[in-house]
Symmetry: C3
Subunit: 207 residues, 3 copies
C-alpha cells in the first residue's frame, strides 16, 4: 500500500510546479513591462499550456485549469501584484530554489503527461513525446507570445532531453508494475536530478 | 419579448465585427506586402482565430466559419483587392470609425464567447477567460504569424482589460436573468464605451 | 480498376513528402545549431504539424503520426545524425531534388487534406482551405518556433497559391467521379508542376 505521505508529496510537488511555471511567466512579463492582464495571460499559458496542448491532442476533458479554477484565480490575483510577488520571491527564494522548483515542474509535468498518454492507449514512443510536450510546451508558448526563440531551442543545456530520458524511466517502471505513486516520484526525481546535475556541470548539447 | 430590431442590431454588429477584424488583418498584410493568399490567411486568422481556439477548447463544432462559408468567400475575394479595399476604406471610413468597429468586435466576440462558455457549463472565471480569449486571440495569432510581439502585450492601453471587465458585466446580467439579447447588447456596449473612453483619455496600464 | 502500381506510387510519394518536410526542419534546426531533441521537435512539427492542425479542426483521430510511429522513430534517430544526414543529402541529392521533394509534399499533403475534409462533409471552399492548411501549416509552425516570419509570407513566389489552385483541381476531379487514386495523382502532379514552373520562371506575387 502506498503511504499517504507519498500521495501528499505528489500534491505538494504539483503546487510547487504550477507556481514555478507561473513565476517564470511573471519574470518574462516583467521584462516586457506588461500590464496585469497581459501578465496573467502569459503566466497562465506558461503554467497550463503544455497540459492543454496534450489534452487537445488526446481529446481529453475537462482541462486541469477548468477543474482547478482556484489556481487560475490565485495566478490572476498574483498578476496584479506581480512586481511585489517577484520582489518577495527574490528575497525569500534564491535563484537556485527557483531552478529547483522549475525542474520539479519539468519532471512532474512530463511524467504525468506520459502517464496520461499511456492511459489513453498511445504507443510508447508517442506517450513519451506527449510527456515531453506537457513539460516543455508551456514555456514554448510563453516565448512565442513574447516573440522570442523558445528558450529550450536557444539554450544548449539539456532540458527537453532530461524530460525525454525521464519519461522512458517512467515507462520502464510502469511496465515493471511499480506502483504509480512510486514510479511518478522516482521518474520525477530522475528528471529533477538530471536537470540539476547537467546544469551544475554546465553540460551542453549542440550539433 | 425581445424586439426583433434588437436581434437585427446584434446581427449587424456581428458583420461589422468580422469585417473590422479582417480589415486589421489586411492592414498588417499590407505592411508586409503579402500576396493575396497570404493576405487571405492573415485576415481569416484574425477574424476567426479567437472563436476557433475557444471552440477547440470547448470541443464545440461546427466552427462559425464552416457554417458561414459566405464570410470566408467575401474575405477571400476582398484579399485580391485588399490595397483597393484599404484605400476605399481609408477614404470612406475615418481611422476613428475603424477604432469603433474594432471595439464593437472586441465587445461582441468577448461577450458571445463568455455566453457560449457558460452554455458549455464552464465555471464563471473560466467562462470570462474564454470570452476574453475569443475577443483577443485572433489579433494574437495575426501578430505571432507576422513575427511581432502581440499588440495587446506591446500596447499599454487597456484592451484585454476592457473585455475582461465587460465579460463580468455580462455574467452579472445573465445571473440576474436579463434577457440574453439585452445583456449581450449592454455588455458589448460597456466594452465599446470602456475601450473608447480609455483610448480617448490615453489611460495606460503598466507594471 | 486502379492499377496497384498507382497505389504504390502514392505510398512512395507519401514517404518522400514526409522526409522532405522533415529535412526542411533539419535545415532550419542546423541554422540555429539546435541539439538533437530540439532538432527532432522542429522536424516533427514541420512534417506533421499541418495534418495535426487539420485533424484537430476536424476532430479526427488517430493522428497520422500516432498510427505510424515508425516515421516518428526514423526522424528521431535521424535527428541525432542530422548534420551527417544533411551532408549526405547534399552530396547525394541536389538542391533541385529537394525542391522537387518539397513540392511533392506540398501537393500530396494539400490534396490529401482536401480529400479528408470532403469526407468530413466540409463545404467545398472550407475543404480547399483545410487542404492548403495541411500543406503549409507545418512550415508555418517551424518558422514560428524559430522566431521567423513564416517563409510563405516572406517569399513572394507562389506556394500556398499553387496548393490552393491544385485543391480546386482535385475538387473538380472528385466531382466528376474520377477514381480517387487518379484524381490524387493528377492534382498532386498539377501542384508539383505549378510550383516548379513558377519557381523556374521566378513568378512573383505581391500586392
Amino acid at each position: 500500500m502506498v503511504h499517504p505521505r507519498l500521495t501528499l508529496a505528489v500534491s505538494i510537488m504539483e503546487t510547487i510546479a504550477i507556481l514555478a511555471y507561473a513565476i517564470s511567466g511573471f519574470l518574462e512579463a516583467r521584462k516586457r513591462r506588461l500590464d496585469p492582464i497581459g501578465t496573467f495571460l502569459i503566466a497562465l499559458a506558461t503554467a497550463f499550456g503544455g497540459g492543454t496542448v496534450r489534452d487537445v491532442l488526446l481529446e481529453r476533458r475537462p482541462f486541469y485549469w477548468v477543474e482547478h479554477q482556484e489556481y487560475v484565480i490565485v495566478i490572476f490575483v498574483a498578476s496584479f501584484f506581480a512586481p511585489y510577488v517577484l520582489r518577495l520571491v527574490s528575497h525569500v527564494i534564491s535563484e537556485r530554489a527557483l531552478l529547483i522548483a522549475d525542474a520539479i515542474g519539468l519532471g512532474l509535468f512530463s511524467v504525468a503527461g506520459t502517464s496520461i498518454a499511456l492511459d489513453a492507449e498511445m504507443p510508447p514512443f508517442i506517450a513519451v513525446l506527449m510527456g515531453v510536450t506537457t513539460g516543455v510546451f508551456g514555456g514554448i508558448i510563453r516565448d512565442v507570445l513574447c516573440n522570442e526563440v523558445p528558450l529550450i531551442l536557444r539554450d544548449s543545456r539539456p532540458y527537453a532531453t532530461c524530460a525525454f530520458v525521464g519519461c522512458w524511466v517512467y515507462l520502464l517502471l510502469a511496465r515493471m508494475n511499480v506502483d504509480s505513486v512510486y514510479s511518478v516520484l522516482m521518474a520525477t526525481g530522475f528528471i529533477l536530478v538530471a536537470r540539476l546535475v547537467t546544469y551544475k556541470f554546465d553540460v551542453r548539447l549542440r550539433h
